[in-house]
């Protein structure tokens, strides 16, 4: 089983430790994991901003880099969905590329989905002390059905999940939305933080770094310096 990790640009830049945590989990699952070195960005920001030409070029680049693997695992529901479901549409005018996109899409998995449904990871390597609340990121939840998978893994790691009100509601990130409409975005994030904090959890956990940076930024601005904001891969590999 040859597994490729698509790290995602946000993790590459902002939270390398999430990338290493994902690697550790995939290795624990018994895979031969590779991280193709030329990978950059899946092109989602371009596509969502209406820049079709750039989205097409970045899609082709990623397909060429990753189509040789049995599985491609992505520690982000949003990026995984972009590759899996948007690439065929983005490459709709080029049947040959579209076919390659569809073929690759079948082998692309969001990290927790891969761990639960493909490799059926039972022995989670980490131990995390403290109760957490889980934010369901929009694209993973609504397009990939990521809901039970992270909770199952947290349970296997012995972590108690305190469900917040509106766990499935958007945190207000929305990619470039968070910068273009900062005030609205931050106001939405405030609701998310209030719901999360009301659970009394020590950490807010999620599967998409964009949401997590948004939530963390809002929490800190609100003066909350203690609630941790963690990617699920970090929790599942925690050594505490």
């Amino acid at each position: 089983m040859k597994v490729a990790l698509f790290v995602t640009c946000l993790i590459d830049l902002m939270r390398p430790r999430v990338g290493f945590a994902a690697l550790e989990l995939l290795t624990a699952a018994g895979g031969e994991v590779e991280v193709p070195e030329t990978q950059t960005c899946c092109g989602q920001p371009a596509w969502n901003s209406g820049d079709r030409a750039s989205a097409i070029r970045l899609a082709k680049k990623l397909i060429a880099e990753f189509e040789g693997f049995d599985y491609v695992v992505v520690p982000s529901g949003s990026c995984a969905d972009h590759i899996k479901h948007e690439y065929p549409a983005i490459l709709g005018d080029e049947p040959e590329w579209q076919a390659r996109a569809v073929a690759l899409g079948r082998r692309v998995y969001e990290l927790t989905d891969f761990l639960v449904h493909v490799v059926r990871l039972e022995a989670v390597p980490g131990r995390f002390a403290g109760r957490v609340t889980y934010h369901d990121s929009c694209t993973g939840l609504r397009s990939l059905g990521i809901k039970a998978q992270p909770r199952a893994l947290l349970k296997r790691a012995g972590v108690e999940v305190l469900e917040m009100n509106g766990a499935e509601e958007c945190c207000g990130f929305g990619g470039t939305f968070s910068v273009k409409f900062g005030e609205i975005s931050a106001a939405i994030a405030e609701r998310k933080c209030a719901n999360a904090c009301a659970t009394g959890a020590a950490a807010i956990v999620g599967g998409d770094l964009g949401c997590l940076l948004n939530i963390e930024g809002k929490l800190r601005r609100m003066g909350d310096e203690t609630t941790q904001v963690l990617h699920i891969a970090e929790v599942l590999t925690a050594k505490s």
Binding site: N48, D51, S54, G172, G175, S178, K180, I184
Partner: protein
């Protein structure tokens, strides 16, 4: 209706700064969302019903010319007159002409979004015909100096009881009351007089049924029934996209519309109106007019935006939208707020007049999953963004930033170098702290929150170092 959509950012900022509005939005949100969630469970197969509704709407749109001709033929055979309007201006002209022809001094109106689009009330007033809105919400807006609605089915969802109490006391010259049933009673009494004295009733239409030549009107208050039963003349104003084939199709759509809109299994009144008063009937209009309005709709047929024409105006997309829940409907600047409005406003009023709307969404797809006719709203918003870029309507800086990012991302070694410096710069900005309070390159982000500091090195650097 004059669009204020080009001022979206200012409108939104004003909404965020309005504590009364913020409180009202919080109250409304829970009620709509929770009630819908319960109501759709009554359907054994909600997803299959949505799929069927989508098919019904698509079947008509794919041959809209023929379905409209069919509807016209059947409706006329039942004694209705079918008129066509290219735009809002023509709607106003036609209604005023009908009013004059029948000696109308007062027109009672049941909710019609198209009449909002067309600015019909102003045109009627100018022609000496008094328009009276009779939906309680619309009435409240009308007596508040024609305030624009903030929601397509709950037009005063942004208003508090206190505001309504003040308005009623001022307008009706009655003692101020803060009891909602008493206020409703007062409106009933005031409006009953208007129903009884108006010569013309104006309504929208939820659906036009080709099989029978009928209009279907869905209301809870009963004002739709009043407006179409008591006056001598009834004018239906609807968009050309509202045709459905059969009564069975109406039954399917009615399983979705009230549940999606207000969380009711069915609205209190569903009226099917066909033709004019029959011989021997004591009530009903003697004249029935349908005004079928284009106003930009024909241009969407056969286009990449055709899916939007399936919309049945339930409001579920806005009720579930995190942005709508945060700023309310008036900020969107035209009659249609929320995700459906962010698609329709630029398409009907011009891309360049609503530049912010397609971007004012997180693409969370909550709207897409609740839409009863499966309109891919986030996808349509994204296509509008693409159209803006194609038409050179985005700011220079944004276009350059996008291009630069993509250009670098296509070149792995350059990307590695650029990100290496980029994260070091950000880490330096953070100065050892966990977050950056003010980010010069993306000031929008730090308006209301901090920017978490990066670790300081990129994954690819660390991975390469580790592999060696």
């Amino acid at each position: 209706m004059k669009s204020r959509a080009h001022r979206f950012k200012e409108n939104a900022a004003a909404s965020l700064a309005n504590p009364v509005l913020q409180a009202n939005l919080r109250t409304a949100k829970g009620k709509f969302v929770d009630k819908r969630a319960i109501a759709i469970k009554e359907l054994d197969d909600f997803e299959a019903t949505r799929e069927a509704a989508k098919d019904i709407r698509n079947r008509v749109l794919e041959h809209l010319d023929l379905w409209l001709e069919k509807f016209e033929e059947v409706a006329c055979a039942r004694g209705a007159k079918v008129l066509w309007a290219k735009d809002g201006e023509e709607v106003c002209r036609l209604v005023v002409e009908i009013g004059k022809q029948h000696g109308v001094k007062k027109a009672v109106k049941s909710k019609s979004m198209l009449s909002e689009e067309a600015g019909l009330n102003q045109a009627l007033e100018a022609a000496g015909i008094r328009p009276v809105e009779t939906d309680l919400g619309e009435y409240i807006l009308q007596i508040n100096d024609n305030e624009p609605p903030s929601h397509i089915i709950a037009p005063v969802v942004h208003k508090s009881l206190d505001e309504v109490a003040d308005l009623f006391a001022k307008t009706h010259k009655t003692p101020r009351k803060t009891d909602i049933p008493a206020l409703t009673r007062e409106a009933r009494e005031v409006l009953r007089e208007h129903f009884l004295s108006a010569e013309m009733g104006i309504s929208g239409g939820n659906f036009l049924i080709a099989e029978t030549g009928s209009v279907a009107l869905v209301t809870n208050e009963g004002n739709g029934r009043m407006v179409t039963t008591l006056p001598r003349v009834h004018v239906v104003i609807t968009g050309i996209e509202k045709v459905i084939p059969t009564l069975e199709d109406l039954a399917t759509l009615m399983r979705l519309l009230p549940r999606s809109a207000t969380g009711q299994s069915i609205s209190n009144y569903v009226s099917l109106l066909t033709g004019v008063k029959a011989a021997g009937e004591s009530d009903g209009p003697e004249h029935l007019y349908f005004i079928l309005v284009d106003s930009g709709r024909a241009g969407l047929v056969g286009s990449e935006f055709q899916d939007m024409l399936r919309c049945i105006r339930c409001g579920a997309c806005m009720n579930h939208c995190p942005v709508y829940q945060t700023i309310g409907g008036q900020a969107y600047g035209w009659g249609y707020p929320g995700p459906m409005g962010s698609v329709l406003t630029p398409l009907y009023t011009g891309l360049e007049n609503a530049l912010d709307l397609p971007h004012a969404a997180t693409l969370c797809n909550q709207c897409g999953v609740v839409c009863p006719v499966k309109i891919p709203l986030p996808d349509l918003l994204r296509r509008l963004r693409e159209k803006q870029l194609e038409n050179h309507l985005r700011p220079w800086f944004e276009r350059m930033a996008l291009k630069a990012w993509a250009w670098v991302a296509e070149r792995p070694s350059l990307y590695a170098l650029a990100t290496r410096f980029g994260v070091r710069y950000l880490a330096w900005l953070a100065g050892g702290q966990k977050s950056i309070p003010l980010l010069g390159i993306a000031p929008g982000w730090t308006q209301g929150r901090d920017f978490p500091a990066p670790e300081g090195k990129t994954f690819r650097e660390l991975y390469r170092a580790r592999s060696r």
